[in-house]
Chain length 261, copies 2
């Protein structure tokens, strides 16, 4: 009722044993084999896997190779290992859900035509809040940049940000030439960044933001805030993206996913 398997389906199924002539590494093949048994239901969640010694015998590989296959599946969240007890098939845990910016479609669009329109770039005096965020003295001059990012013809993201003003490192010109969304983030010099904090939360768009993003009806919006730090753990920049929620729809998959690597 669920699915009808044709005769040719077998060709697409993972191999039933290790193929030493395959380009695919042995430990990946072994991980595939075990993974497939879980997908097929031969190994239910909570079931105990054969011991590593057994797997060594069964598949005629070295202990280290079994170890790597087990490690791979463990990292994938498919199984868990308990020293002295055994290895068990994990059940789906919602906590494992991870939302990656990488697979956010249209956000890092090398292929798509993303254009950047600089609305404003100037020096401003840091107010209390900016001073606190960027670890500068209130009143100190910082760089303020506003940009509108288009995907195709449509304004998609509105970005505002403050950069610390280091005369030894005039980066503003480079900043302004950025045409990639990716580059906007890493604006203040990729090499100098040691770490960064990213926050995402829901927000109402104000009138200016709605107008810039060409949103007529009230639409829920997302804010992506970012702070980058240098190798002395001092802030380099603080900024945030604003967009309609459909531009930043986060997705995660938990449990068994079809493909391995």
């Amino acid at each position: 009722m669920v699915e009808i398997k044709g005769g040719r389906a077998a060709e697409q199924l993972p191999a039933l044993s290790i193929d030493r002539n395959s380009d695919r590494p042995v430990y990946v093949q072994l991980a595939d084999l075990i993974h497939q048994q879980i997908v097929d239901g031969a190994l239910n969640p909570g079931a105990k896997l054969p011991s590593e010694t057994k797997l060594v015998e069964t598949y005629s590989v070295s202990p280290m190779t079994v170890r790597r296959a087990i490690n791979l599946l463990s990292r994938k969240g498919v199984i868990t290992t308990h020293k002295g007890k055994g290895t068990y098939v994990k059940s789906v845990e919602l906590e494992d859900a991870a939302f990656n910016l990488r697979d956010l479609e249209g956000f890092f669009s090398d292929d798509q035509d993303t254009t950047v329109n600089v609305l404003e770039a100037c020096f401003v005096s840091a107010d209390e809040k900016i001073a606190r965020k960027l670890h500068v003295q209130p009143g100190e001059k910082v760089i303020y940049i506003r940009r509108l990012l288009y995907v195709g013809e449509n304004p998609a993201y509105y970005h505002r940000g403050y950069l610390i003003n280091d005369p030894k490192r005039p980066i503003v010109e480079a900043e302004l030439e950025v045409t990639e969304l990716r580059g906007v983030f890493q604006g203040s010099g990729n090499q100098l960044i040691k770490s960064g904090d990213i926050f995402i939360e829901a927000a109402f768009l104000d009138e200016e933001e709605s107008q810039l993003l060409d949103i007529s009806d009230p639409t829920p919006g997302m804010i992506l805030e970012h702070i980058f730090y240098d190798f002395n753990d001092q802030p380099l920049s603080w900024g945030w993206f604003v967009c309609a929620t459909d531009r930043l729809r986060l997705h995660a998959r938990v449990g068994l996913v079809p493909i391995m690597d």
Copy 2:
């Protein structure tokens, strides 16, 4: 200017060489050593690491151990390896940002007092949309549950969901007894779930939602939608959480983080 190091600071710094008597595995110690050199700026982003052969000589460990240290740092996103070329210190990539539900404070609160209040649980006829999502016929009976989840005294999350009605598997009672937020998700039987899709997006709260969550002023809200599938890839349940944005503030860190594992 940035920091003043006292004499005792040295004790807290990572060791300068491998300690064979340490509980910490050798490959972790080696990864730590390299990581520390990157943090200290001795190895800048883009710099080439010593070859694995060199590292074997320098630290007097076996090639496999070097390999594992390199692998660990590579998985952490700190370095990248290129076959035939070498290993290089990565610069911070925003795409690496991953927002984990696990480290969402107060969401999976074993320690906190989370209580679940079942507002409604009944059979409903599946409309077009429900039927499509749950792969049932329109008009078919499905289970509808509405719950309000409290953190302490305060209503924090409002959850609505549809469950397929499998008479062979009466799970509703168990569903209703769930007191943990974690359990609400995995409602339809943890063992039966093969995979799930989770979506997060911003939303306006409607009047009922605002009222239930005790929100007077209009507040931006977040929606966490989830669909779980069984081992035949058939949907088991479809539901979504609604909460104020401050209950679901996503955070990710990119670049170098202080602690290793």
